[in-house]
């Protein structure tokens, strides 16, 4: 089976039913975009919560211009609480904070450029002796002089996760519902293509073309629908990944920075979407071919 033949037949089919083709591709794109959105949000959340793993449950952010005295006062207070109430704590100065920031937003140089070391809030990172004390500790330090705010991740993370779980449910239901429509449209488009080419198909059977030879152009057409829809969804989720990430909530943990997904993480999601799109297109057209193309 020559590639020129396949290209000609599949291309011809796509163009012949341009309206149906567009409808199938667009619905596919909507469905896969919703799916992609969920994945992007999940990536953003994983990224936002990763620095809180390793036991840190509390970050006391100082004002960027907090005096040395204010900082020392907090340090002394923390020191006095080890080991009964606090297991351990350490100091993250502006340089370290900036380094963390750079690492987190690697791949977004413009973002990094607008922030300077001087603007980064230094912080104490605290591992409490008992997890139940987190809320009480947070309250104790929140209003002390020089303290900007106390990052209190467990609560914020829980809140973010519950928000995400709602969004995820909505988006997945949307993705599944629209996907059903997309599959129906693909099947219908292939059916039309088979019908409009019934004369050719009859001749092919007559002269002894193999079943696969007759089927493959139609199956490639379904594959093309899936692939085109997936490409559109890929672009959409890739370029709006910031907006999508911010749906989950701005990140109160990281000094209010927006949730963030790096380009290469978004590409990873995109590849997944492409694979799903192609699979759905193939399966849909295989069904149509099996059903409507008696060979």
């Amino acid at each position: 089976m020559s590639s020129a033949y396949l290209l000609r037949e599949t291309g011809g089919n796509l163009v012949r039913n341009i309206v149906m083709t567009v409808a199938a591709v667009v619905t596919m794109a909507v469905s896969l975009s919703a799916l992609g959105g969920v994945l992007i949000m999940r990536q953003a959340i994983n990224k936002a919560t990763v620095q809180w793993q390793g036991g840190v449950q509390l970050a006391i952010f100082m004002n960027a211009n907090a005096s040395g005295q204010e900082i020392r006062a907090i340090g002394d207070e923390l020191h006095a609480m080890v080991p009964q109430e606090i297991q351990k704590y350490w100091w993250v100065d502006k340089e370290r904070a900036y380094a963390e920031f750079k690492q987190m937003f690697a791949g977004e140089p413009a973002f990094i450029k607008v922030m300077s070391v001087g603007q980064m809030p230094p912080s104490y990172r605290v591992v409490p002796a008992r997890a139940q004390n987190v809320a009480q500790l947070a309250g104790q330090f929140d209003n002390q002089p020089g303290v900007h705010n106390v990052g209190y991740p467990q609560q914020a993370i829980n809140q973010m996760l519950s928000h995400f779980s709602t969004l995820r449910t909505v988006a997945l239901v949307l993705a599944a519902g629209v996907m059903v429509g997309a599959i129906a449209l693909i099947i219908n488009t292939i059916q039309l293509a088979i019908f409009s080419r019934r004369r050719e198909v009859a001749v092919m059977k007559l002269v002894g073309a193999t079943n696969w030879f007759i089927r493959v152009p139609f199956m490639l057409e379904g594959l093309a629908h899936g692939l085109a829809g997936a490409c559109a969804a890929f672009m959409l989720t890739y370029f709006s990944r910031g907006t999508i990430a911010s749906f989950v909530g701005s990140d109160s943990l990281n000094f209010g920075a927006p949730l963030y997904v790096s380009p290469h993480e978004a590409v990873f999601t995109g590849v997944f979407i492409l694979i799903v799109g192609m699979l759905v297109g193939m399966v849909g057209s295989a069904f149509a071919v099996k059903r409507f193309l008696a060979v």
Partner: protein, 229 residues
């Protein structure tokens, strides 16, 4: 080449189209199948290509029992059989050349084979000057020549023709018949169902007459028949 062994075929709705038919057609023969409408001529031909399957008896084609042939082998069976019909069955949006080339392309023949075979066969049927026309721009006789070219371009062992001259006037009919004789001379077995008394009577080839699904006459150098059909 084609052997029917006590073949019975009943369509859904209990129409008995063939009843215990036994026929043996040798390689290189030219055979007419005659008989009134509904006597089972088309059914006979469709059993040869496995477009229909007999429910009793055996259908042997080119050494294979067609009824028990695996589905994936059916296309390869059909590559040995060319088919021509009363209504030509050409692709209206493709040129004469493309119609014939299509038959080779879809069985995976390489391009250089297509490029040499198609003009050659179109020359044989006398259409070498009309290769770029669409079927709609040809006379009925010319369209049937294209159909014959398509059926024969792969040099099949067998050519089946179901009333190929049914839509043609007597002069054009003569041309098509000479073409089929020519193809027969190349060694291809030709089986032709027809209602055309004149062809059968002038050509004096083997005649198998059917009536109500049974073979009622099988003559080596036969005529159309005693009664008007």
């Amino acid at each position: 080449m084609i052997r029917f062994n006590h073949v019975t075929k009943t369509y859904k709705g209990s129409t008995v189209a063939l009843k215990d038919v036994t026929v043996d057609i040798k390689r290189g023969e030219f055979v007419f199948i005659v008989g009134p409408s509904g006597s089972g001529k088309t059914t006979f031909l469709r059993l040869v290509t496995k477009e229909e399957v007999a429910e009793a008896g055996e259908v042997w084609v080119a050494g294979k029992e067609v009824g028990s042939l695996a589905p994936w082998k059916v296309p390869y069976l059909r590559r040995n059989i060319g088919c021509v019909f009363q209504d030509f069955r050409l692709l209206p949006t493709r040129s004469v050349y493309e119609n014939v080339a299509f038959a080779l392309e879809v069985i995976g023949r390489p391009r250089h084979v297509v490029r040499t075979q198609v003009p050659q066969i179109l020359k044989l049927v006398g259409l070498e000057t009309k290769m770029d026309r669409l079927p709609g721009e040809l006379s009925a006789g010319e369209q049937q020549r294209v159909a014959v070219a398509r059926a024969f371009v792969n040099r099949p062992l067998i050519l089946l023709a179901d009333e190929p001259t049914g839509n043609l006037d007597p002069a054009t009919t003569g041309g098509i018949m000479r073409l089929l004789e020519r193809i027969n001379e190349y060694g291809t077995t030709v089986v032709m169902a027809t209602h055309d008394r004149q062809i059968v009577d002038t050509m004096r080839r083997r005649v198998i007459e059917m009536a109500q699904g049974s073979v009622v006459r099988d003559q080596v150098r036969g005529v159309y028949g005693m009664v008007d059909a």
